[in-house]
Amino acid sequence: MKVLKALGSLRFAIVLIAGLAVLLAVSTVMESVHGTPFAQKNFYTTRWFDFFLSLLWVNIFCSTLTRWPFQKKHLGFVITHIGILTFLVGTLLSRTLGSEGQMALFEGEENNKIRAEESADKPGQKLLIEGAPSDPSNHAITAVLSGEMMGVNETFTLIERDPDNPHAFFTEIGPAYFELVAEPAKVSEPKLKIERESTQEAWTLELGNVSPSGEVPLGKNGLTVSNLRYYPHAKVFESHIIEAPTEDVPFNPAVEFTVRDSKGHSEDHTRFYLFPDFDSLRGGRAANVFDLKVSITDAAIPEEMRRPVPAFTFHATPDGRWSYRITSKKKAPVEGTLEPGKKIPTGWMDMTVEVKEIFSRAKSNKSSKAKKKSLPFKLRLLDFRKVDYPGTASPASFESDVVLTDPTENISIQKTIKMNKPLDYRGWRIFQASYMMDDRYGEGSVFTIAKNPGIRLIYGSAPIILLGVILLFYFHPFFNDKVK
């Protein structure tokens, strides 16, 4: 009884409440100094934090018990504290049994694994190891980008093929783009692709060297293409497309042309490579009588234009030689051979790239990898859309069309996930967290996928607590009523 009283005492409650407040204040300061992963790892997700919350539970439980047998005057108190006990149980359930992770998908991709939030890896921990000679070829590189002018010192790893992350071959640091290419890409001419879905016809036109005067027939159906113009660095000026005078628009290929049929009908089309979802019909209001779909094929874009500028490309050839190529906005590309330990000046302010390690049969070091978890279902991204505020590039909304397949239940659901409109499936919720825009892969979505088993208890506790508090605060005599 004495122990029960002590555990349920107000003194203990105040110690716990104030202690929790101080602890949290300390952890937010730690987070500010050492970063979010540090605080998550050393405070919020620890077992002793669970223990602290459990102590709070015990305290409230005991203090409620000490009121036994309950009288009418205890009503508000008991209801409130039962509510808080429910809330804490829900919290502890979610903390111990819940899970949460991210899944990044480009359009057309499918996956059934989520990656846990980046854990605070100890610095210097190796992510990759060199495999045995029998292992398949898989190039990887670890390098450091540093520069005093901007105070940059960033280590990054690029992997040709990472089974868990199809996008591990590139990274972006500030405005710079880094990429690992296993074989130097072939430079080819850009092409224009015109498709007619109703008749399953398709035509391809070379864009490398077009003259706008000629008329090109499309098959034998009487359609012709004329006024064909190609702009490697398109810029919209007074609602016309012009070729940017200097390369201040480094990457924005566009094509314009007119299609005519034998009866004299005509349509004007404009296609920007970077915006394949826009209606190519000029004016937008005209009906697409010819039923044409227009695209610039990405394989045809020259290497310098295919990736953002400035870019640093690491090339690995099958015979084990490594080279690099630096493309900058206003300078000619720079090439050279790669040597570990040698600092390569990038030409971007005072920044240098130093290669730390090179792998030709890279394997991941399992022990230090971010936690991965298989889901009971697969998710495929069909289409991602970004809607901007009028007249700006600030996004107003993102949304994704997805297909969820559960092989065990033989269920397949197609739905649209929007910001604030998640998809629910058997205790899992799938949210639109972010998006990706990449030259090679196009558009993509980052989903947060979470299971939160305590959430019903948490939600359910709220009305109980509120009811209790109102009874406690407003239907109960308290301290200065005696004075009056």
Partner: protein, 477 residues
Amino acid sequence: MRRIQKALFALLVAVALSQGIVLAASEAAKRVPILHNGRIKPFDAFARQTLKTLSGSERWQGKDATPVLLEAIKDPKILKERLWVRVEYAELKTHLGFPKERRFFSLEELEGADSKVDSLVKSAKTKRDRDERPSKLEQKAELLYTQIRTLQNLVSGESLKDFPASGASQLKIETEVLYLSAKPFQVAAFAYFLGFLLLTVFKIRSAGRTIGIASAVLAVFFHTLGILARVVVLSRPPVSNMYESMIFMNWALMIFALFFSLIKKNAAALTVGALVSAVIMLYGDLLPIDSSLEVLVPVLRSNYWLSVHVMTVVSSYGAFGLAMALGHRHLLAIRFGKFSKKKEAESADLIYRVIQLGVILIGTGTFLGGVWANESWGRFWGWDPKETWALITFLGYLAVVHLVYAKRISHFALALFSVVGFLLVLMTWYGVNFVLGRGLHSYGAGTGGMNWVIYYLIFEALFLSFILIRKKFTILM
């Protein structure tokens, strides 16, 4: 009321007549819609904002923004050569090779230092991308960069390409022009201050006291109109940035003050509330209507739960602010021996009631934030610094509520905590964004204001020393 309205009207007419025809022409120009920063607004708003960005003031040499800007747009020479870009930070001027003594510069002069500004801005951007804070020099360079771009966009016609804009709502345009010229928050600040003065000077029932109460009520009326005007113009809940949250917190504070004054039949809450409000409104008016968050990031898109969450939390700040003001009153009255036992108990009861309300509001508001986060991100609680600090604030006040409920602390200690506890609110509301500078809620942040918070902290330290030195008091009972 009537008389004041009549007087105001007469004043307006006089001003209008003195300005004559010039006014009529520029009045029409003010209302022409323009698309700027993703929003259609009257030209007047654009002109004021542009001028404020450039020179730090909405007027130029005593003239209104609209005619000043119209004149400049017609003559690119003015745009390029007029010395009207204000650069205050001495270190930046030295860095760019400009004389330190001069305050105003022309576009031509500044374009000469373009590359230096660019490199500072780039390095600031890199730091931001890496989740670091740029240096003060870099931040000031970013500001200057904005000023230069603003002018360059006027020269090239870029910022006028959607002028006049189509599809403008007449109601919004008229409301915004009225809001900009009537300055409801300034009127409210003045009326709050008048109300406080009258209620402090006239202690017993008198005409002065009645006018004081009327003045405070009128202030609340203008305050409400101002908030409504912003809601109409921006089509979003009135709590989307630091400035708006200050105005809204203050509004909630006054509504609670009115409420408690009515049910307690005692104008104490109204009096101290009016003083706090006058101060907050005056500070708030130093900031522009538009902020960098003029259109909301997707995560903050008008959303029912989000609005309810933010408004509930911000109104809890209002309750704690009122408790803080009442705490000062309580401590001062004790210091000067003005309290009878009965009055002291009444005052403590009032403070406790206000804190109770604050605890319910911050608890509910934080919980709703969790609901919203769970519905949109799948995470009820993520230990984001802002929510963690809201929890710390909640826990702090909760501890006091327990102690008062169990009659363990004195009236004095309660009043003392209501003052000290507000520092927790300040940390949650302001400190998390500006001191810790991390987290999801950083879109609620702006820059600056640090000086004012420091002044407040110094004031509070002096006040508490004054109360605590040479005075016997009991904390625990």
